[in-house]
Symmetry: C2
Subunit: 566 residues, 2 copies
């Protein structure tokens, strides 16, 4: 299948990220070679630093001339990977062809090999995490363009970027560009949340050109099919929509099957009621029909469909809090308990599961969310939206939520759904998407550091060394956003020589006469002093000499690169 509308998308952003080169490392798959992507940042001292890369071939193309035919889509690489035989599951049928079922049966798939190499883990460790349901690899058999990624608390924290049009804004072309743009800056997955026209067509263009897993919320499209009236929804309409999306290659789907009829009244006295769109649709349906949610009553059938494609459940938190006042209330946790039940059912069918989490939560109530999710949902990967740590800063909710996101990720959340500056105010444009992605890379990486993720700190260390040694260009290029770092620097010191200058605009050339720390270090090396005790002893024994040496050298003082900070 390929998009049927004649080329409404003619181009997207291409070209390497400043100072970097896209590369692929070849590893052995069971059916031939797997090409594992990475990005190499070259340093001016001759070294380089490799980082995880989500951007697909778009950053490999030197110019638009090299861009593949967007209508044909990316190469269908995964079609050539090994396809193990189906294996039996508890709720059986003809057997399952899912990462979970295979992992439980001891099979190391090419997808596992790929993500293991991509993150630097042993494939057997990855398999065990997937088998335990503590990690998922969302990878629909019908998304062969995918470069698989793993989501689980033992791995680097991932981030998702939401895109999608609405009834009042944007075109297919804009949405495809948002996908390319979001993954350029580090989006590990994207969700297409379109609710406007051309939903199927927009998704087809995105799927065929997306190197990352794509998620959707099928109820949105189902609602379009009944002209926006939730009471007209039926299981059959929903089921057919899910199958349609599975066929297109969607890798994971948000399903709000935990919004039960009896939970709806629990939201009555909340400050902000039900704020999940899917949650409110299902609540409306339940109330109108006074029946239990068809997502809940037909959950087994849904599992059978998703299993067929190896689509991963993202069990939605339809009753998540929409304000600080509503955090961690009975409505929220009642639904979470039901998500725990559904997790076990899905896994019995061999279907992979993630659990969605809040929302708006004050800092002191964040960790409880993770503990409870892990307890109730057998440590299925937690996938949270922020949470926002306060409600009072619309236009800055990427920041209010990055605070909550970093804390919840440190506590064990596996993937963070980004929030852009436009949250609560409008739909994000291209700049907002970038700001949201970079902000969430910060939250995710901060959590990786706090969790001691192997290798996470090396990038901080490289950048800090570059900073200390006044290697400005390296500092820019090692950063999450080289373009903006350079632009900010150049606002006050635009000349090219300043890039190698041993000073900056914060103190100016006179103050920045040089670095005492470097002097002390040089002294230590010169005298072959290894430990700090050596240095202290030598200094004590050798006071006058050092004093004279230092004064002779001009009494140079390291003036820091911190901005005018005390």
């Amino acid at each position: 299948m390929s998009p049927s509308v004649s080329a409404p998308v003619d181009t997207v952003t291409v070209g390497p990220i400043e100072g970097s080169e896209k590369g692929y490392r070849a590893i052995a798959g069971s059916n031939g070679t797997l090409r594992v992507p990475f990005r190499r940042i070259s340093l001016t001292n001759g070294d380089h630093h490799d980082v995880y890369d989500t951007s697909g071939p778009y950053t490999q193309y030197a110019s638009e001339d090299q861009l593949h035919d967007l209508q044909a889509g990316l190469p269908k690489t995964r079609d050539e990977w090994a396809k193990p035989e189906p294996v039996a599951t508890e709720n059986g049928g003809a057997g399952a062809r899912t990462q979970l079922a295979w992992a439980r049966a001891g099979v190391i798939t090419d997808e596992i090999r790929f993500v293991a190499a991509r993150e630097g883990f042993d494939p057997e460790f990855v398999r065990a995490e997937v088998a335990a349901g503590r990690a998922v690899i969302p990878a629909n058999h019908k998304h062969p363009e995918l470069e698989p990624a793993i989501i689980g608390k033992a791995f680097a924290v991932k981030i998702n970027a939401n895109i999608g049009n609405s009834a009042v804004t944007s075109s297919i072309g804009e949405e495809v560009e948002k996908m390319v743009w979001a993954t350029r800056w580090g989006g590990d997955t994207i969700m297409d949340l379109s609710t406007g026209k051309d939903i199927h067509e927009t998704r087809e263009w995105i799927m065929r050109n997306s190197p990352v897993p794509v998620g959707t919320v099928p109820i949105y499209q189902a609602l379009e099919k009944v002209k926006g009236d939730p009471t007209k929804l039926t299981w059959e309409i929903y089921r057919d929509t899910v199958i349609e999306q599975c066929e297109q290659g969607v890798d994971y789907m948000t399903v709000h099957a935990g919004v039960l009829l009896r939970y709806v009244p629990l939201a009555a006295n909340r400050v902000t009621g039900i704020v999940s769109r899917g949650g409110s649709i299902m609540a409306a349906w339940c109330l109108a029909h006074h029946e239990e949610s068809f997502l809940y009553t037909h959950f087994g059938e849904l599992c059978e469909i998703l299993r067929e494609y190896d689509v991963t459940f993202s069990l939605g938190d339809g009753l998540r809090p929409g304000s600080i006042a509503d955090a961690n209330d009975e409505a929220q946790f009642a639904e979470l308990r039901t998500l725990g039940e559904l997790t076990k059912i899905a896994k019995s069918y061999g279907v992979q599961v993630m659990i969605e989490g809040p929302g708006h939560v004050p800092m002191h109530k964040i960790v409880e969310n993770v503990r409870l999710e892990e307890e109730l949902c057998e440590e299925a990967p937690f996938y949270t939206l922020g949470p926002l740590a306060t409600d009072i800063a619309p236009a800055y909710d990427h920041i209010t939520s990055a605070i909550g996101a970093a804390i919840i990720a440190q506590a064990g959340t596996a993937m963070l759904c980004y929030v852009t500056p436009k949250e609560h105010l409008g739909l994000p444009n291209r700049d907002d998407v970038k700001t949201g992605v970079i902000t969430y890379k910060i939250a995710a990486h901060s959590a990786d550091l706090a969790k001691g993720h192997p290798g996470a700190q090396s990038r901080d260390d490289e950048l800090s060394k570059a900073r200390f040694e006044f290697r400005w260009v390296d500092q820019f290029n090692l950063s999450l956003d080289p373009d903006t770092a350079r632009e900010f620097h150049d606002e006050t010191l635009p000349a090219e020589p300043a890039k190698t200058a041993h000073f900056c605009s914060m103190c100016g050339p006179k103050f920045c006469s040089m670095r005492i720390s470097a002097d002390v270090r040089a002294y230590a090396q010169e005298h072959n002093l290894v430990t700090q005790e050596d240095i202290a002893a030598k200094l004590a024994a050798d006071m006058a000499e050092k004093s004279k040496e230092f004064t002779d050298a001009g009494g140079r003082v390291y003036i820091p690169l911190e901005t005018a900070q005390r």
Copy 2:
């Protein structure tokens, strides 16, 4: 004293914050009336919400015509407040006229009355916190233009905005405007870190026009006096600079007296050495002279000077980590132990003390900083710079540091020194100052919520109610930055009617047919159901009726204001 340069500053930003009116509440002082400032946000439903206000009369002036004569400065209101008699201190002299000494002697000063009314605490509680050294009220007798503020962990978390020129940038006028601008958006104190020309004059203009406490780092000006050569610094030059600044009315001073000669080698093997400017100056001096720091050896004399004016010590962390790699190392904590000793000495002289903290610290090492500071420094107010939770995001360090700042404030930090997007890259301009202040208000308020600060959540609740009821203008005006919230909204739905529309650009008019939560709530009220159990029981007993009612009402569904979020 007033600025001697003939009016280099002719104007600054004036006018109310959108949707608000500046007000003053009269309370009884011991010598007449005290006028306590606040800001009243009017709501479209006829209510209002009052918030703490730091902006001085600038937001009261309707236009530039009403601006006071900047050369004469703000009214010297505090000159009319009560001046209690000096009281004895452990290290005595003629007795002390400081908030600490008075509080210990049981005196409730007008400054205490003022801050107690401003924050909604009992004056006696405030006095006890000041007496214990757990809170400070930086208020130089020679800064009569000041509206005092309290800094301590029992109170709302405060934020500081750094301003100041450097050898390569900016003018006096720009710096005065930055002060007005920073306090307009919520800066509780400002630090003038000028290192360029006209340091004395710039400070004079700032002091005379600042309604908030002003901090400085006197060693910067002292270094200017010796033409930037740290080895030429002497105690006498430093002392005279401190006296000069005390005479001008500076309210608190950063003193890096904990950088001892023997600690300097501890920084030798760090990734980023010494990054505090003051710390590196003193380290250079110590190494060059091979003597103990004159700030340490003359600390008692310094206490006598600061006591005379009631200037508060901000004991600087000259060895704070400048990178994730250096966090919580021996250099940092060795200095902190010395700051603990100096805290006790300063307090024995009756001088108020804050302790400065890092810097760059990964999330899992943040809380240890607070615990150790409290243990070593008798819970003196902790005043931290961020900390940045990762090094890899120059151009976004307001965000990397807001994550750390929120966490460290939740743990007990009393004041947060802001970081702007230009950190590590250049000096902040006016926009950067605003971004830094708003970002830090977010961190501080998030911590207030997490600490259960009385009244903190009411603003979140008001804003969330406004959001839920589609009172767009109230949502904007209750936010930290009404201008930007409105601007972002208007990008996609610019027409004025949209401000009251019961929908927004995220879903559009069709989807946003209305609110199931409101429906459920209305149903509950109609049937006089109070508890959630009542509602659930009634619903169960009354299924068919409700179902019909809901369907008759058009099956309206609340579509949330969250941006396209699942």
